[in-house]
């Protein structure tokens, strides 16, 4: 065979190779994915976005929001630790036990910590060390759990509880992961900013909540109407002096409401097998994200 035909065959192989590797095989692996269950609650995940949020996704696409906002959170690792979820009857023995296994605490800190359960006794240790530390604490009557906390710069910013995985986007079309963060990541914006009015005000004029933002105002998603015509619950609640003028109110158009419904539906935080998160109820990851997945070991 001539050299030319070899090159031709190799090029064909190269052509098919990357398609096979990045399209066909992932399609076999992920393309037929169905809902998974959260770990350990066994809840079905993900649930398709409700109708208004699905319409809002179209607004998000058509306005090109994905050019400035990504929807993929990174995770650099996990931090394993130990938390006390219940205090037994003998609190003095427990404090002593805690001070033995975690000498970095002061006695008053420990006492204060035990007042506000759950109390994270140690963090960022090896899993074996956390397991070892459980025994003296449980002997002192406490109920403990080994915690697994995802960590990373994105998570520390409060952008999510864990990294984004394929399951988060199962029912989305199109999937708009974005490739650039001019503004913050939005993968968990629904948990971070659940207030509808806040988001609407931010779309009307981003400078109100975040002075210095480079986000364009989306005034064309709103209309200014005489206050007399509009039912009060439909109008936007603007801070003093930022309103459109006396006797007038700002009313979000359906597109704005849909977009906000979509943003509020973005909460990729369910703990899944592939992204383990173990935190007791009331002890959040890195921000105000609530964690409903808390399993206590007996």
């Amino acid at each position: 065979m001539s050299r030319g035909s070899w090159i031709f065959i190799l090029s064909l192989l190269g052509m098919i190779g990357s398609w096979f590797g990045t399209v066909l095989y992932p399609q076999i692996q992920l393309g037929r994915m169905v809902e998974t269950r959260t770990v350990p609650d066994g809840q079905v995940y993900p649930v398709a976005r409700p109708g208004l949020a699905a319409q809002g996704r179209e607004v998000y696409r058509s306005q090109g929001c994905y050019t400035c906002h990504s929807q993929q959170v990174r995770q650099e690792g996990v931090s394993v630790g130990l938390a006390i979820t219940k205090v037994g009857t003998n609190q003095t023995a427990l404090v002593e036990a805690i001070l033995r296994i975690a000498p970095q605490w002061r006695r008053d800190q420990v006492t204060a910590g035990l007042e506000r359960l759950p109390f994270q006794v140690m963090d960022g240790v090896a899993a074996a060390e956390a397991e070892r530390a459980r025994r003296p604490l449980e002997a002192a009557g406490a109920t403990t759990m080994v915690t697994v906390r995802p960590v990373g710069a994105d998570l520390a910013r409060g952008w999510g509880l864990r990294r984004s995985v394929a399951a988060d986007f199962l029912w989305d079309h199109p999937v708009m992961l974005g490739s650039q963060r001019v503004g913050p990541d939005l993968a968990g914006v629904g948990s971070r900013l659940p207030d509808e009015n806040w988001l609407l005000v931010h779309l009307w004029d981003p400078q109100i909540h975040t002075p210095g933002s480079m986000m364009p105002p989306y005034r064309y998603l709103f209309e200014v109407r005489p206050a007399a015509e509009v039912a009060s619950q439909d109008a936007l609640l603007l801070p003093e002096g930022k309103g459109p003028g006396p006797g007038k109110v700002v009313v979000p158009r359906p597109e704005a409401r849909a977009l906000v419904a979509y943003l509020r539906s973005l909460e990729a935080k369910a703990p899944l097998f592939e992204t383990p998160v173990i935190l007791p109820a009331g002890l959040s990851g890195t921000s105000a994200l609530s964690v409903h997945a808390a399993v206590e070991r007996p």
């Binding site: 996990v78 899993a127 997945a293």
Partner: protein, 198 residues
């Protein structure tokens, strides 16, 4: 420019490329980078497992970080299945509902041999049946026929261990074995039939 004058236009345009060979160091570089690539993939690639995401290196690492031991996770899954599939009639507390379904807590059919219990959701149950001293005469459809063996096994394990029940777990393999053994069956079971199974 000196080179201009010496050029024949035609030969320049159609000139073939020179024959200088690839330097050996480039081939060595390819080999070194290829070796690095294999090592890097081995350490971080998760070996094509769909459940391994960065920063985890392999599925065993992910497994170690799971919240609870396998048995507990299994029971949790079973609870989720039970709540969606069974609890409507048998109740979330396993006490059954008058006129709908007998209790599961303390029932001999639940605590008895696993083969007996597995058959009930697979094909249903009809006719009179005595549970905790009370006779029920109702028909149960084949509620578990559509469940996966894992889900069914988890749900059955859950009811064998919840509400004070204390019987051994049921594995997906057992469910599959019973499924295979009763493959052709379409009729629901009767209590008498079930009692003959040990």
């Amino acid at each position: 420019m000196s080179m201009q004058s010496s050029l024949d236009p035609q030969s320049v345009t159609d000139a073939k490329a020179g024959q200088v060979t690839v330097p050996m160091w480039l081939v060595v570089l390819l080999a070194v980078l290829g070796y690095w690539g294999m090592v890097y993939f081995d350490h971080h690639g998760g070996w094509f497992d769909a459940r391994v995401y960065a920063p985890f290196a392999s599925v065993s690492v992910v497994n170690e970080l799971q919240p609870v031991s396998g048995a507990e996770a299994f029971v949790n899954r079973g609870r989720a299945v039970y709540e969606t599939t069974c609890a409507l009639c048998h109740g979330s507390d396993g006490q059954g509902k008058p006129g709908q379904a007998p209790p599961l807590a303390g029932s001999d059919f639940v605590l008895g041999p696993s083969g007996r219990l597995i058959r009930i959701p697979l094909h249903g149950l009809t006719g009179p049946i005595e549970v905790r001293g009370q006779v029920w005469n109702l028909a149960m459809p084949a509620m578990g026929a559509a469940l996966s063996p894992e889900d069914l096994a988890a749900a059955l394990t859950y009811i064998r261990q919840a509400w004070g029940n204390n019987a051994g777990p049921i594995s997906a393999a057992e469910v599959e074995a019973v499924k295979a053994a009763t493959a052709g069956r379409t009729l629901p079971w009767t209590a008498a039939e079930l009692k003959s199974i040990q």
